[in-house]
Symmetry: C2
Subunit: 133 residues, 2 copies
């Protein structure tokens, strides 16, 4: 067995399981520190990467140069809010048709797709309604 148990890794994983916020490494660090005050930021990065490689968590690249992490590894899409910048889940079965469709239009071989949506999240929609009223 190569992998060893560590409190730090467990705390990181626990925090990620407890939130739907798709936090960045920095955010994970901030929260985990409350329970484990002298954990290192490097440890957070190392473990998030390790867990992602093992497939225990998902790394989300939303294109803004800051990675986010998600303990929910089931197939689902994400929506980034153009107002608050938050990332929320979109419960929708993966549209494999578009991979097949793409493959028919491509001289090479297409194996999958990465999609994220943008728009305004429920919370920000509500806020806007208040402002207009």
């Amino acid at each position: 067995m190569a992998l060893k148990y560590s409190r730090q890794r467990q705390v990181i994983r626990d925090y990620l399981m407890s939130t739907k916020e798709h936090p960045t490494a920095e955010t994970v660090y901030a929260h985990v520190r409350k329970k484990y005050p002298n954990i290192s930021l490097g440890t957070v990065y190392r473990n998030l990467s390790l867990l992602a490689e093992l497939g225990d968590i998902r790394r989300l690249r939303m294109g803004d140069g800051v990675d986010r992490f998600d303990a929910d590894t089931s197939a689902h899409y994400h929506v980034v809010c153009t107002e608050c910048g938050g990332v929320s889940d979109l419960k929708m079965e993966p549209i494999n048709r578009i991979t097949e469709l793409a493959d028919r239009n491509y001289p090479g071989r297409i194996e999958g797709h990465i999609t994220y949506f943008y728009g305004v999240c429920a919370g920000c929609c509500g806020k806007n309604r208040e402002k207009r009223a």
Copy 2:
């Protein structure tokens, strides 16, 4: 008129128009230097960002932390090759249905989607066939 013509900007734009390679800023810099040896990397970044803001070119964020640029601003998708890392065009009309579909499954408002595909490009497929033979 706020915008002024500059040789540097023109050379950058010309190079981008001449290639289908979706180069990174660094690659643009390397090529543009041949024609304009003492151009600054900062100038390349500044102009690529400016042209992208004006809508003259497109900035492609493929999730690996390195931006690429495309002079073809028409609606089309991109494929990143998992073997050579290259990015190629996929001529396929945008599937707006998935935005609508997503919107029906989301409590907020969804305005668009960003999708890229991954697989093996035509060039690398060919190479593999040779190796197997």
